[in-house]
């Protein structure tokens, strides 16, 4: 069975909410729509206080090259264009809308009927995706239209669909695949047309047997789409790891997947592409998982952006007793929240309630040079060395030792028997080295 070659760990899967039907979260009375829902600069608002907006109406446009449009996910009146306090206490810009009814923009097709025919040309598809504000829903929120426009001189040979969902606990992509498989396949053919590729590989980990069977059945009806079952291993959902696992090519250090002729798209992004192209529906909602060992009804929820997370937690049975930490995202790459009184955004893939016992980080001990972090690192780095260098502020050495290749997956931290905060320091070092490199490039 296929998987990536170096490193990786296999944490307990704990897919508690697997198989739970996607439930719609009720509309809030007030939606706070963050303007910073993607990689790159926050979007620029184009509505004014007092304006009435419909669902799907453009309310903020992309600022600069790497940025994305933002649409109203509710209908109502714009009451504030200000800042809000995010889950980490920082202030970031947002548009507040007081919800009135649920009136959709006229061109959006709200029927559930599946529309299979797409007559748009390659350029039209990419422009439409750009307009719809679609970003990679796997976690990084990189604007999708940029990925679909390879730089001059590079051509895409194969489209890879990331249906791995390697993070423990999270099941939102899995459930989406089970409920909207056909739409996802239409989305894939649209993406294939946009990229001009003849071949697509869908990678699914073998802990989702039902999804593999269902997708294989669907793939038989579509030309050029292959479904590959992968051995369950974290972090298989990383772009570089997935390319290695599926087509055996290694993306060189510092390069993008297009260098080896591959473009990777997340399965949830593919569904968003289907909705944008065939239904004219911009990215205004996503599926997220609310889970945890003590959560009453762990499940998958379709949530409009701007809805406070408290609403979805309420549906899952409220904050369980004995909660030690609330993690936004999965347990491996997610970040602990200060509060859940924050709106959902394109980034929100899940909420995980950890019990007090689970969440305690043990006291770090000395490094015993066991090299477990080295064997666990999927990028072939030496995390123990990177940590020491980062601790001492030796940034030139850090750069030489490839810190910019780190994907911050946390395998090193997970595997360390001395509970050393490897990732904390490596991440800090990577951020500082990144700033140094940017400053150096700006000087040139």
């Amino acid at each position: 069975m296929k998987t990536f070659k170096i490193g990786g760990v296999h944490p307990q899967e704990n897919k508690l909410s697997a198989g739970s039907k996607i439930q719609k979260v009720a509309l809030p009375t007030q939606a706070i729509i963050p303007l910073d829902q993607h990689l790159g600069a926050p979007a620029t608002p184009i509505v004014a206080v007092g304006d009435t907006v419909k669902v799907g109406q453009l309310i903020a446009t992309a600022t600069g090259f790497i940025s994305a449009n933002i649409h109203a996910s509710v209908s109502g009146k714009v009451t504030k264009i200000d800042t809000f306090v995010d889950a980490w206490g920082k202030r970031s810009p947002a548009i507040t809308i007081d919800v009135e009814g649920d009136e959709w923009a006229d061109d959006i097709i709200t029927s559930k009927e599946i529309n299979r025919i797409c007559k748009l040309s390659k350029e039209e598809i990419i422009t439409k995706i750009k307009k719809a504000g679609i970003v990679g829903l796997g976690g990084a929120c990189f604007p999708t239209h940029i990925k679909l426009t390879p730089p001059p001189g590079k051509t895409a040979e194969v489209l890879i669909i990331n249906a791995v969902e390697c993070e423990p606990y999270l099941t939102c992509d899995h459930q989406l695949m089970m409920e909207h498989g056909e739409e996802i396949f239409i989305g894939i053919s649209i993406l294939m047309k946009a990229l001009g590729v003849q071949k697509t590989i869908v990678g699914i980990e073998n802990n989702k047997k039902d999804a593999i069977d269902y997708f294989q059945k669907l793939a038989n009806r579509h030309f050029g789409i292959e479904v590959v079952s992968l051995k369950t291993c974290y972090p298989q959902g990383g772009e570089k790891q997935l390319i290695d696992a599926l087509i055996g090519r290694q993306v060189p250090s510092g390069a993008l997947p297009i260098e080896v002729g591959a473009v990777v798209q997340n399965v949830a992004t593919t569904f968003a592409v289907y909705e944008a192209i065939q239904k004219n529906k911009p990215l205004i909602e996503r599926v997220m998982t609310v889970t945890g060992k003590n959560v009453k009804n762990p499940g998958n929820f379709a949530i409009r952006f701007g809805t406070p997370l408290t609403a979805v937690v309420e549906m899952a049975g409220g904050i369980p007793e004995n909660t030690g930490k609330i993690i936004g995202g999965g347990p491996m790459m997610g970040r602990a929240h200060m509060t859940i009184d924050v709106p959902a955004s394109k980034r929100t893939s899940g909420l995980l309630f950890m019990t007090k016992e689970e969440s305690v980080r043990k006291e770090p001990q000395n490094c015993i040079r066991c090299a477990k972090c080295i064997s666990a690192c999927p990028m072939g780095l030496e995390p123990y060395l990177l940590m020491s260098l980062s601790e001492r502020g030796m940034y030139e050495e850090l750069e030489k030792n490839g810190i910019m290749d780190c994907i911050e997956c946390g395998c090193c931290l997970f595997s360390c028997p001395s509970y050393r905060p490897l990732l904390d320091y490596v991440r800090q070092g990577k951020a500082t080295v990144g700033n140094i490199i940017r400053a150096r490039n700006a000087k040139k």
Binding site: W88, G89, K90, R91, R335, M338, P421, D424, Q428, A431
Partner: protein, 298 residues
């Protein structure tokens, strides 16, 4: 016997040869160095802290010798006396500089500033700051993980476990500025030490609006502007809801301390005042030394 004599002769000859070679090489590759560099270096405190902006004391000495004037060169550790000595050696005049000291501009102690969450990641301010705002609701305040303590080469700054805030030892602090650079929130500032170590400063960095700042911390500066009106010397400015006292203009009259409604303006090392009843809120601050800064003003 023969062997001993022979080896003595061989070693003696080798020694002589080597000394000749060394002498010639030393002559050939002799680097002419200004002898004043050594003299200047001797006059410097040899702390090698980098506070002057150079790599070390030797590097700074070279810069002094090569410079035409000492205007932009200053050893913060040695201060005016050292720079005068350096000036005497080089025949230049050194500017008199006021001795400086590091000042921690945050009073968000456990008592004043409610902890709303617990951070259990790596104990480093830089790391915590890159993740989120910290254990309190104030996004400008001290994180308390001691990056400044680690950075200090003179053992002059320590975290007080009771308050969770760093405290500067005035006698040890050399104003090299390493802690200023280490603090990711930019709380520490180098300020004039002042006559008899007396200083007045705003011990807050919160730029939030009135209500938000007050909610996060009971001793936050709310930018009300009372101190600006009170100051006769134009020393106080308010920017982004935060007052700042310019230490070059401040005459230490202490009027601003009296009018501050939240007690965020601190006075240090002043003698106790005569009329104690007049300003009950600030009563405790009057006599405090820097060690019990954060306990003032409950």
């Amino acid at each position: 016997m023969n062997i001993i004599v022979l080896s003595l002769i061989v070693l003696g000859v080798l020694g002589c040869l080597a000394s000749v070679v060394l002498f010639l090489v030393a002559r050939k590759f002799n680097v002419e160095e200004d002898p004043r560099i050594d003299l200047v270096e001797e006059a410097l405190p040899s702390a090698n802290c980098g506070g002057c902006g150079f790599a070390g004391c030797r590097n700074f000495a070279e810069a002094c010798v090569n410079a035409d004037s000492l205007d932009n060169l200053n050893c913060p550790v040695g201060g005016t006396s050292t720079m005068t000595k350096v000036g005497e050696i080089l025949g230049l005049t050194a500017n008199a500089t006021d001795p400086m000291v590091a000042v921690v501009r945050c009073n968000g102690s456990h008592k004043n500033c409610q902890r709303t969450n617990t951070y259990d990641g790596a104990k480093s301010c830089a790391i915590a700051n890159s993740l989120y705002i910290g254990e309190t609701d104030c996004s400008f305040g001290c994180l308390g993980f001691g990056d400044c303590v680690t950075a200090c080469l003179f053992d002059a700054i320590h975290i007080n476990p009771e308050t969770g805030l760093p405290e500067v030892d005035e006698d040890k602090c050399t104003a090299c500025g390493t802690c200023v650079k280490a603090c990711p929130k930019g709380i520490i500032e180098l300020r004039k030490k002042g006559p008899k170590n007396r200083r007045i400063f705003v011990s807050c960095m919160n730029k939030d609006k009135d209500g938000i700042a007050r909610k996060a911390c009971s001793v936050a500066c709310i930018g009300c502007g009372k101190c600006v009106k009170e100051c006769q010397f134009d020393a106080i400015t308010i920017e982004n809801n935060l007052a700042y006292i310019d230490f070059t203009k401040c005459r230490l009259c202490r009027k601003c301390v009296d009018v501050c409604p939240t007690g965020s303006i601190h006075e240090l090392n002043f003698p106790p005042r005569k009329k104690q009843e007049a300003v009950p809120e600030t009563e405790e601050i009057k006599t405090i030394k820097i060690e019990d800064l954060s306990e003032s003003n409950d």
